[in-house]
């Protein structure tokens, strides 16, 4: 299968790989996927007191498209408010990375990951 240049770029130079302390109150963690399905994505966001995402980190077990989708997502969410970040659609990721139909599920997973991270952060704040 041929990959787009953008997928290859993100895959070879992934942005924002790493870990944030999941126990910090200003960190939201979203982990989606399953090892049995061949991809697991963990996305973490650090949110400022103004509700803007200051930092984002990811780790992904999965194919090149899954790694690229999560890498791109960390770039996109930084500087966005939680609401703006939640509005990112998988189709935008798929379009940006020129994912073929068989790889669209990777972008769906990325959308799920940011939603889960925002949810995790919000539930922490509600406590």
């Amino acid at each position: 299968m041929a990959y787009s240049d953008k997928v290859i770029d993100h895959y070879e130079n992934p942005r924002n790989v790493g870990v944030l302390d999941k126990d910090e109150s200003d960190v939201g963690t979203g982990m989606v996927g399953a090892p049995a399905c061949g991809d697991v994505m963990r996305l973490q966001i650090k949110v400022g007191s103004d509700g803007v995402i200051e930092d984002a980190k990811f780790k992904t077990y999965g194919c090149g498209s899954a790694i690229a989708s999560s890498s791109l997502l960390t770039e996109w969410v930084k500087g966005k408010t939680l609401d703006e970040a939640s509005e990112i659609k998988n189709s935008e990721i798929a379009e940006e990375l020129e994912l073929p139909p068989v790889k669209v599920h990777c972008s769906v997973l990325a959308e799920d990951a940011i939603k889960a991270a925002v949810q995790d952060y919000k539930s922490k704040q509600a406590k």
């Binding site: 299968m1 990959y3 895959y11 992934p14 790989v17 870990v19 982990m31 989606v32 996927g33 399953a34 090892p35 049995a36 399905c37 061949g38 991809d39 697991v40 994505m41 963990r42 780790k59 992904t60 077990y61 999965g62 194919c63 090149g64 899954a66 790694i67 599920h105 769906v108 997973l109 799920d112």
Partner: protein, 404 residues
Amino acid sequence: MKTPIYFDYSATTPVDKRVAEKMCDCLTLEGNFGNPSSRSHPFGWAADEAVEQARKDVAALINANPKEIVWTSGATESDNLAIKGVAHFYHKKGKHIITSKTEHKAVLDTCRQLEREGYEVTYLDPQTNGLVDIDQLKAAIRDDTILVSIMHVNNEIGVINDITAIGEITRERGIIFHVDAAQSAGKIEIDMQKMKVDLLSLSAHKIYGPKGVGALFVRRKPRIRVEAQMHGGGHERGMRSGTLATHQIVGMGEAFRIAKEEMQQDNARIIKLRDRLFDGLKDIEEVYINGDMEHRVPHNINISFNYVEGESLMMALKDLAVSSGSACTSSSLEPSYVLRAIGRNDELAHSSIRFTLGRFTTEEEIDYAIKQIIDNITKLRELSPLWEMYKDGIDINAIQWAAH
């Protein structure tokens, strides 16, 4: 050294130059282009002679009679002809077939078709080393069993089934025994005088011959009958009609002749390279060899690198032409059914890479591959949340994952 490096000899092999030369001699006006069935002039006679020489060379590699060789378009057709041919010819004797879950799709899908036609098929579970359990096979035999079809060497994990032992059982019970030998011919000894195999599928392109040609061994003593699947001019004693492709057949014959002559020296060299690759990788943490290491062809190594997904690893190993049991590499979304059948969990099946070496693999290529693999495994594990969890002592199987 040129990249990418070819490590996928079980998918196909390059045609040996000596083979290609012989094939080229059978194409043009100056060459041996005649129709082997033309009995009325020297063009036909010469082509027929070339085809019959090839038949002898193919038969010689498996110690069979040349009259027992039927030309086909490849091992897939041979499997179809053998299985459907026997099922249709002997259906009055019974309608039960035994095969295994790790067979090639050419066997499994043919059996599925026969199920649709009203036949019953038993699919044996392999043992965790990938081999067919002989006792389980014996227990599966019924009074209406007409055919057992078991592969000699598995294409993914390279393990060698004991077809000699299976042949003793089937012959005693009067059951026809078919063997798919696409992955074993030219790699290990096959002897049709000693092994009680009734039908044996062969392919040319796995052993440095051309694609598009294969053969089916059909035993004469005791005589095995198959119903033709391709009808027409009655070629190949009525079992497979169609003008014989002289250049393809001559290529297969030459490839088999060379294999017989050079198999031992090729194997001695390849097994050293395989061990060198294995030694270079075995100390990486969390690596698993898939399939039995003892009953295995020399050129195959299939490894799972836990916590790294196979397709992303292949993407990283872009200088190495390998194949993966990961779902993403195939058009279906299931990981390797062979690795699942030998009891590997989905993660390990997704993390597997198959390296198959061959006649033209060099030590330099192996060393380059080892370095590439080690570097990229490290890189991808740094990216992997599962690896991090493993390192933190978290049991990944204890987590409730949401399947998607």
